[in-house]
Symmetry: C2
Subunit: 243 residues, 2 copies
């Protein structure tokens, strides 16, 4: 069929163009969750290139974490992969030392607003929807979060019923708005609680805080969310792999 591989290119190698083309078809939601994407042979035929080249393109997307191969079965989307919950930073233990438990999330505010300077800078726009929530483990408030998402990508977010909100936002972003968060940068520092934050987290003003600022990016690299989370520094614990 030698379908045309869309724009994108300026004499990029074939495998790179196919990789990008597939990435954008993935982002478009063309392929639902549980079915495999077309087979390598089929894609090769569709795009008029050889199977080896298709494999190389798919290799790239697998490495990026967008696809997953299953021998004998097919190649599948790999939806979340992205377990970026901030709770992994905070080790909260019950009196018994058990690493409990179910995180809960209390929505305090949700409204279209103007982004604060830092958020606007990260998102490239100040037309945003602001969210404030308090997250707890075992009824202990742990994280105070302030989030801003681009109004142009999340139109209607303010009027979503409270019931659709679970503890995790990224699945919601994808299911309701087709925004697939693929990557994020975290920025950690330490500071001290002001009166408002201290009250929410049941700390004393001036108590040490861990401050996590995150910018989350879409599949195509657009920043879609900026957030700042604050939690007691005493419980803070971060683990990172380098190399």
């Amino acid at each position: 069929m030698t379908a045309r591989i869309p724009s994108a290119d300026e004499r990029l190698p074939a495998y790179a163009r196919l990789r990008d083309a597939l990435a954008s078809r993935i982002a478009s939601g063309e392929w639902g969750g549980s079915d495999p994407i077309p087979s390598e042979a089929r894609l090769a035929h569709e795009y008029g290139i050889s199977v080896g080249t298709v494999r190389k393109a798919v290799d790239g997307l697998v490495a990026e974490g967008l696809l997953e191969r299953r021998q004998g079965s097919g190649t599948y989307l790999r939806r979340p992969s992205f377990d970026a919950t901030l709770f992994r930073f905070f080790q909260v233990r019950g009196a018994d030392g058990a690493p409990a438990s179910i995180p809960t999330s209390e929505l305090i505010l949700r409204a279209r607003t103007e982004a604060p300077k830092e958020a606007a800078l990260a998102l490239g726009t100040s037309d945003v929807i602001g969210i404030i929530r308090l997250r707890s483990l075992s009824d202990q408030p742990v994280l105070f979060e302030e989030l801003y998402i681009r109004a142009d990508r999340f139109s209607g977010f303010e009027s979503l019923p409270d019931s659709v909100f679970g503890p995790l936002l990224y699945p919601l972003y994808f299911e309701r708005f087709g925004v697939l968060v693929k990557r994020a940068t975290d920025d950690l520092s330490f500071g001290r609680a002001d009166v408002q934050v201290a009250a929410r987290l049941k700390l004393k003003p001036g108590d040490p805080l861990a401050i996590i600022k995150r910018t989350a990016f879409d599949v195509d690299g657009t920043p879609v969310e900026w957030r700042v989370a604050r939690g007691s520094a005493a419980q803070f614990h971060y683990r990172s792999e380098i190399g």
Copy 2:
């Protein structure tokens, strides 16, 4: 020549066996710094496999960061790559706001000793050499470090002349002891300065501290160094990519 690919295998695919074989030849130091490793065609001939398979093996090592390809020239070792200096966590600025300057390192202690519990656990041995040093930027003490390295991998380290020590240890590890640090895990938490640390860092006891515990691993995955570094939390700043 169909050289025998060494032990390793239990019916692993050819490319995986070559990958491992090459990794061990790299670790052995067989190939010096500035010369390329044998060409793909040559390796294919040596091991009696096809060029495509060699490429796949090399691909893996490139992805791991051990090798680097240069089109038209050859495939080279990629020695350090590993810029893991702890200073990237601490933003120290002069009065003018300039992000100065040259890090210096004052060696306070260096001796064969018994590892503290946490270090022994990470290293799998308590026979270690301990190092204590104070690291400064622009004459401001910034980091107080306590390091432990395996005595079996660094025999003779205690008696090295002070003159060979630069600000960075990992290059020294490699050049003097053939230990190539390839990977590390950092563990960040928050604490408060005790009297000793406070004195070294010119802080007050009880001042907030950022605590970084690091385990560094050799190419073959053996833990070779454990360290704990402490610095003022006020200056601490960490940036991480996830996804």
